[in-house]
Symmetry: C2
Subunit: 214 residues, 2 copies
Amino acid sequence: MNRPYQFAAEESGHYNCQMNGGNWKTISSERHFADRNVQVVTDRVQTPARPDPRVWTIVHRKPAVVIAPMTRDGKIILIRQERIPIRQAIWEMPSGQIDDHNADGEKIKEVASRELREESGYELAQDGRLISLGHYFSSPGFTDERGHLFLASPVQPCEEGPDREEGESILDCRQFSVEEIRRMIADNEIRDANTLSICATLAARGLLSLTPRP
Amino acid sequence: MNRPYQFAAEESGHYNCQMNGGNWKTISSERHFADRNVQVVTDRVQTPARPDPRVWTIVHRKPAVVIAPMTRDGKIILIRQERIPIRQAIWEMPSGQIDDHNADGEKIKEVASRELREESGYELAQDGRLISLGHYFSSPGFTDERGHLFLASPVQPCEEGPDREEGESILDCRQFSVEEIRRMIADNEIRDANTLSICATLAARGLLSLTPRP
């Protein structure tokens, strides 16, 4: 239960496909539904830890980008968006799906820059950088959806403003201080995985403080 | 773009169903697939902000509980679990689905206590408390899945150990210091929404520090 932690790093995901002397093996896959946005399958899968195949329903989703836009004076830009599946409008970080299945690191960064501009009306300043913070899984018990996390800093308003596509449901866009972000997380007003996950990552890297003021 | 922040709280989710003079209205709903775990529908929905109906594919999921178990000396318990949709084993907080559609606050807490015990083999100490931290949405662009977040503190090992169901794929369970958790988030080893979202919430409430040591 409490073995030394130094072994954890070796097992922490980088070697997953060959851990425990076994491999992940898809024995069969049956498709139930597919449209532009979701694909539902039931797979029979052999896992590294268990030789007997397991049957699991999986919703495939395109990967996404999530961008934390930070201004030169340390403010964070959030958008307010109508989200139909939850019948609510929420404050969240700009994000978007990656349509190209073969997108490499550079291509993913291009998508992140475009989504930042389209959704928030902000873009990187001339000395700005798009910093990759890794990726996260939104709900690995049922979907393979992953979000690639980026810090965009510093950002400035685009001259031409946001360029929102037909499908977007963005109602508002504002700057928030880091203390406002912290307060909104503590009060459960920020409550989507994209925003919470990128904030946890930024905090753990020392790029944003979630610690309440004394 | 930068209107005074004091208006934000009024619009921050509590009044969503009547904001902007409109309501959320489901005009039609077509079901494509359903099993025990996912239900896929295409809804035509009128949103508060737009009078013209929008068509959206939604994956319905049961709500879940996510538990951050903290020992008396401030260690966090994580489990290592094989997650078939992503073909990986990851370190994460104990969690589980709420089967009862009508579960109220007390019932949800019971599920959280049970999942804590079954998945980690820990339980609340006699002076322990299960503290509700609100809920979050795992991917509100396509699913209504929500996770109810709890801090369980202090916890202690159950005498009988973990009681894992047939379906569970838990490989390991260990205590981690808060600094180890922070390092694993910074290094992208912790990378699921449940764990990242509950860590952001704990940090914003001053219950766990994600700030790197100087």
